[in-house]
Amino acid sequence: MRASHTQRGFIAAMLHRLSGIALAVFLPLHFLALATALNGANALDSFLALTRQPLVQFAEWGIVVALAVHMMLGLRVLAIEFFNFHEKTLAALSICVAAAFAVGLALILNAG
């Protein structure tokens, strides 16, 4: 039913779901990267050098935003389910997404 695809609840649910999938895929890679430190600080440093390429930087930004989006929209679900929060306006969705992008912006401003 294509009409539902523009409804804010559906958009919220899809952002939440897709960011969750992205995180589940990313996480093992994240753990593997950190574990290169098992071979010493130099090994981790050489790995980090790889991450300075623009494409990787963009992906990192994407993952941070995905984490923030997933958390914000997750908080929305928890508020509705456990605190009987009656979310009926676009405001809640907008706030969640805006906050997530604020996190992404903070990353860009801070990094490098």
């Binding site: 039913m1 294509r2 009409a3 539902s4 409804q7 804010r8 609840g9 559906f10 919220a12 649910a13 779901r17 929305r76 679900v77 509705i80 389910e81 456990f82 009987n84 009656h86 979310e87 009926k88």
Partner: protein
């Protein structure tokens, strides 16, 4: 768009699960509802067109169908609201139901799920000795009041994405009714009811898309009933209360 000189193009599903769309042209009239349009087509142009209606004044919920991809009551949908630029309306049977013929759908599974969710009052073994005293402003009575007006029209069930993805999902209407009974202080079947609505096809499958709340023609909010059920199951599972 004004004036009855303009014609209306109406695309209607014909057939059952297999079929095709048939295009009709019908005059635009002032204050037309989509039900008026379907009725005029069936009476004046094609008597083989099958559809349902009863009260035609927004009380019974029988006339629900997909209008331009949205489930709504056709008697309460003015053509002006849905006409769009091209003077075109698309009518389909309610999504998530099996099509019987044309615009009429099979409602049995919908009501079976109502039973599966134990959406019925359980008086218990012993008859009550006296009238139950339920204060109208008590928390539980207010919870019931918010959600009791459901007439089983199927629009929420039709709108629900989880019903589309999981044919076993009990659906917003059945769960909404279960919630009103969970809050009915006279009901004796709560333990079984909470069990019934917390299986894999139960309330936990709801992902808060809120289509049901968005489309309910009676402005009910099954999302919050289902959240209430999730909380009830949560506390019941952890603390048995």
């Amino acid at each position: 768009m004004t004036g009855s000189a303009a014609a209306l193009e109406v695309e209607i599903w014909r057939g059952a699960e297999e079929g095709s769309f048939q295009i009709f042209t019908t005059p635009r009239r002032e204050h037309q509802t989509v039900l008026d349009v379907v009725t005029e087509i069936q009476r004046e142009q094609d008597p083989t067109l099958s559809y349902r209606f009863a009260c035609r004044v927004g009380i019974c919920g029988s006339c629900a169908m997909m209008v331009n991809g949205r489930p709504r009551w056709t008697c309460r949908t003015r053509v002006n609201e849905v006409i769009g630029e091209e003077n075109h309306i698309r009518l389909e049977p309610l999504r998530n139901f099996t099509v019987v013929k044309d615009l009429a759908v099979e409602m049995t599974r919908f009501f079976d799920k109502w039973k599966d969710a134990r959406g019925y009052f359980e008086p218990g073994d012993k008859p009550a000795e006296d009238f139950a005293v339920v204060k109208p402003d008590s928390k539980k009575r207010r919870a019931v009041d918010e959600h009791i007006e459901c007439i089983g029209c199927g629009v929420c069930y039709s709108a629900c994405d989880v019903v589309e993805w999981d044919k076993d999902y009990l659906g917003p209407a059945a769960l909404n009714r279960a919630w009103t009974l969970v809050n009915d202080v006279r009901d004796k079947g709560n333990a079984e009811r909470l069990d019934a609505i917390s299986k894999s096809e139960g309330c936990q499958a709801c992902h808060t898309h809120m289509n049901c709340t968005q489309f309910c023609p009676k402005s009910l909010a099954p999302t919050y009933s289902i959240s209430g059920l999730k909380r009830a199951v949560f506390w019941h599972s952890l603390f048995g209360k």
